[in-house]
């Protein structure tokens, strides 16, 4: 059994990373041009005809680049539509709509397609504000909410892996350069050990997230457990990764000038949206015990 990424998937990761590093503010239309939207939708419905596992790589890289456009929500809604369209989509979960201001339509838990109208709330992660819809009445969309919810939570888990990975890289870069008492601070155990912990957790988080993505892609019966398990662990890993990275950065780590606080806020956002880790673990427990 081969668990490795294919050559094409590695290539996709490389190109996605290069593109997002060059164009962190890319418009959704540019991502559509690159074929990043509707990846896992069958070709006859206007999609890419590939797997959610391929799409998963894009979610992780979008997280790593802290991409702020409504890519994730649009990508998880498209497979629920009869045909891939050109609109920017968001979802309403627990009454909250990410990026309400920047999308055209919203898919609700009641499978209604609603125009994106409402108020935007003040949120900690300013790059992905939450909104509330004025009205949840719209046009009915055929199909069930559950697959959309699973895709959404899996995508959030994958984004969290990207956040953790970047926080780790930033930490490693910094402690490999910064000197104190005539030595690189990375040579001190109190600095290197937390980064090692982050590395271990990030690798585990990635395994869980891609397992969840695999289950979603294959419509596997384990999906309802794999997805909350991944969401719980990946989001907590991202938060811890950012906290440790801020810690090893010393003073600069909690300044506005350094990007780390943005990663930290996104990590907190990912943990909260769609249910905190404790909520996700309760779902896992129920599946194991009930």
């Amino acid at each position: 059994m081969d668990f490795a990424f294919t050559q094409e998937q590695e290539e996709l990761r490389r190109e996605a990373r290069a593109f997002l590093e060059e164009n962190p503010e890319a418009q959704l239309a540019e991502l559509r041009e690159l074929g990043w939207l509707g990846v896992s939708v069958p070709e006859e419905r206007g999609g890419g005809g590939l797997s959610f596992l391929d799409e998963a790589i894009l979610f992780e890289e979008a997280g790593r680049a802290l991409y702020s456009g409504p890519f994730l929500t649009t990508a998880v809604v498209l497979p629920a539509l009869p045909e891939v369209d050109e609109q920017a989509w968001s979802v309403e979960v627990d009454g909250f709509v990410p990026d309400l201001l920047h999308v055209d339509r919203v898919l609700t838990e009641g499978m209604q397609s609603v125009p994106a109208e409402g108020e935007t709330l003040a949120t900690m992660d300013e790059t992905r504000p939450l909104g509330r819809l004025t009205s949840s009445d719209g046009e009915a969309v055929d199909g069930e909410w559950e697959p959309v919810r699973l895709r959404l939570l899996a995508a959030l888990a994958l984004e969290a892996v990207g956040i953790a990975q970047r926080a780790l890289e930033l930490g490693i870069e910094y402690v490999s350069e910064r000197e104190q008492f005539g030595k690189k601070i990375g040579t001190y155990q109190a600095v290197s050990h937390p980064l090692a912990d982050t590395y271990v957790e990030t690798e585990l988080a990635r395994s869980l997230a891609y397992w969840a993505a695999f289950c979603v892609a294959e419509d596997d019966e384990q999906a309802p457990v794999a997805v909350p398990a991944a969401k719980a662990f990946c989001a907590e890993t991202a938060v811890a990764a950012c906290e440790r990275s801020i810690q090893v950065h010393g003073g600069i780590g909690f300044t506005w000038e350094h990007p780390l606080h943005r990663y930290y806020k996104r990590a907190q956002w990912l943990d909260a949206f769609g249910g905190h880790a404790a909520v996700q673990r309760a779902v896992v427990a129920a599946a194991l015990l009930d």
Binding site: Q7, E8, E11, L12, E33, W36, D54
Partner: protein, 262 residues
């Protein structure tokens, strides 16, 4: 319209380059990638192919000389939209200098008989910037180099050639060889579909025997140059450090005057 683009698999920019003291050759064992300016040549070829419309007849062929793993880099150009690859790969071709390389590439290009041959201006590993001239000479084709703008019209190619003092505008009848500068365009990012479909495109790997080239004409035996010695650049000369106590600017002017630079 058939366009051949000569591309090279070079050590990735992120890899620290190292010369193997034994062979006096660049160590190519690390991660490789497509030579950056070659992506501009591929982009230009794709634009020409797509602009000429007749999709069925237009073709962009990548031609390269390198180890088998060069295919990995060429796949990026396939993902951008090139149609197929012709890679000349043979252990006997390793270590070919510019003269030998130009003869092998010319042989492969003769076989393709393209209307237009594009090169990136230079490779990021050797920075030779003469290979296209040698290939054009062997093929007896006109050459325009350092091209920042390219137009095709009525069986001729016109290139705006960047020079130190401005631009030369040069026209040549097709078939021709053109070396492009990185200012010519902005290479596209491969689309997801392009990336996923690249592996299925035709990729021919030819040996020297396939091209009917004798082994003596390739590699070290086919080369006309020999690397005798390699060394690090000499260390920088004496440096003087000035502490700025408010008279820093004056001291710098004094120093420059002393050296007769102002």
């Amino acid at each position: 319209m058939k366009i051949a683009v000569c591309v090279k698999h070079v050590p990735d920019a992120a890899v620290t380059k190292r010369i193997d003291p034994g062979t006096k050759r660049l160590d190519r064992s690390g991660e490789g990638s497509l030579n950056p300016v070659d992506a501009n040549a591929v982009e230009e070829a794709l634009r020409i192919r797509d602009a000429t419309g007749d999709g069925a007849e237009g073709e962009v062929v990548l031609v390269s000389l390198g180890p088998e793993k060069a295919i990995d880099s060429l796949r990026k150009a396939l993902a951008m939209g090139a149609d197929r690859v012709l890679l000349v790969s043979d252990p006997d071709a390793a270590g070919s200098d510019l003269v030998a390389t130009s003869s092998l590439l010319a042989k492969a290009l003769e076989r393709e008989g393209a209307d237009l041959v594009l090169f990136g201006q230079q490779a990021s590993d050797s920075d030779g910037a003469v290979l296209w001239a040698a290939v054009a000479e062997r093929l007896r084709l006109p050459l325009i180099s350092q091209v920042a703008e390219l137009t095709l019209e009525g069986g001729a190619v016109t290139g705006k050639r960047q020079t130190e003092f401005g631009y030369d505008v040069i026209r040549a009848p097709l078939p021709a060889v053109v070396a492009v500068a990185d200012s010519i365009n902005e290479p596209r990012y491969p689309s997801l579909k392009g990336i996923m479909g690249a592996k299925r495109k035709q990729q021919d790997v030819l040996s020297l025997a396939d091209l009917e080239i004798e082994a003596e004409r390739a590699g070290a035996s086919g080369s006309r140059t020999e690397v005798l010695a390699l060394s690090d650049p000499p260390p920088r000369g004496e440096t003087r450090k000035l502490e700025d106590d408010g008279t820093g600017a004056e001291k710098i002017v004094e120093f420059l005057a002393e050296k007769r630079l102002v």
